[in-house]
């Protein structure tokens, strides 16, 4: 029963992150949505590891690596946003629609 409840929660968190990433105009909010989706996937891993496959250490290792890689990805993504802001003078992704540079 706990398994299903936690999986529902992570599914809802994933959908909240997705809706935010797709609907908001600001590039930083898109990144925030992506972080929420990554975290929802991590919760899924841990919940399945704990309740269905505790003998497999991969269920614990994958989220650990996922956290590290997500941090790297957030760093690079935010650096990209700063570089793009310097060029387009805005973080509005609907105005970043020209390839002139």
């Amino acid at each position: 029963m706990e398994l299903k409840f936690c999986l529902f929660i992570s599914a809802l968190l994933f959908s909240i992150g997705f809706v935010g990433a797709v609907t908001r105009k600001n590039a930083i909010l898109v990144l925030i949505g992506i972080e929420l989706m990554l975290n929802a996937a991590n919760i899924n891993f841990i919940v399945f590891w704990k309740y269905a496959a505790p003998h497999d250490a991969g269920g614990l290792m994958f989220p650990l690596f996922s956290i590290a890689v997500a941090a790297a990805e957030a760093a690079v993504g935010l650096a990209l946003i700063i570089a793009a802001y310097r060029h387009f003078k805005t973080t509005d992704i609907s105005q970043m629609n020209r390839l002139k540079g």
């Binding site: 398994l3 809706v19 930083i28 975290n39 290792m61 590290a68 941090a71 760093a75 650096a79 946003i81």
Partner: protein
């Protein structure tokens, strides 16, 4: 499962979902970032509730201690005016819920039709020593994740150097183009 334990999980999940929705829908960017921090802390509390303390503390250390600060720095470095701007939603506001609704419904159906795990699976205690042995190896085996760890190390170094060089000001290059 214990009734009070379930209440605790319910409260944590409620705060998590509320702060995640707030993070995605508020108009002031800094408030969004602070709600994101609250969401990360709630996720760490869920990890603690599930018994993986190491992962919970790593979540706070990495996400709250580093990613949130990066997000906040970026918000500060990319502001136009001093006041928080009114951030509108994009023109295709309905695209998001329309796309995610089938995914969500499928997930709910899939989760709902999961068989109950057999009772004999004992809920494990995730000893930190076991994590260490899995990662690095022991005289008696383990160490299956040495290559991924090296790979993550190289990736993080590359991300650090790349991010720093991308975000630094490149006035000279722009002058050359002009």
């Amino acid at each position: 499962m214990d009734f009070w334990s379930f209440i605790v999980l319910g409260v944590i999940s409620f705060v998590l979902l509320t702060s995640a929705s707030a993070a995605m829908s508020l108009s002031n960017l800094i408030h969004c970032a602070l709600c994101l921090v609250l969401s990360f802390v709630c996720i760490a509390c869920i990890y603690l509730w599930l018994g993986v303390e190491f992962l919970g503390f790593v979540q706070v250390l990495v996400y709250v201690g580093a990613v949130s600060i990066l997000v906040v720095f970026t918000i500060l470095l990319t502001r136009r005016g001093f006041e928080g701007e009114i951030i509108d939603f994009s023109g295709t506001v309905l695209l998001g819920p329309v796309l995610i609704l089938p995914v969500l419904l499928t997930l709910w159906w899939a989760v709902g039709s999961l068989p109950t795990p057999p009772d004999h699976i004992k809920t494990p205690v995730a000893h930190v020593a076991q994590i260490g042995i899995e990662l690095g190896g022991n005289e008696s085996g383990g160490g299956h994740y040495i290559l991924p760890m090296l790979g993550v190390g190289i990736l993080l170094t590359a991300a650090l150097i790349g991010g720093a060089s991308m975000a630094s000001s490149k006035r000279r290059k722009e002058e050359k183009w002009n």
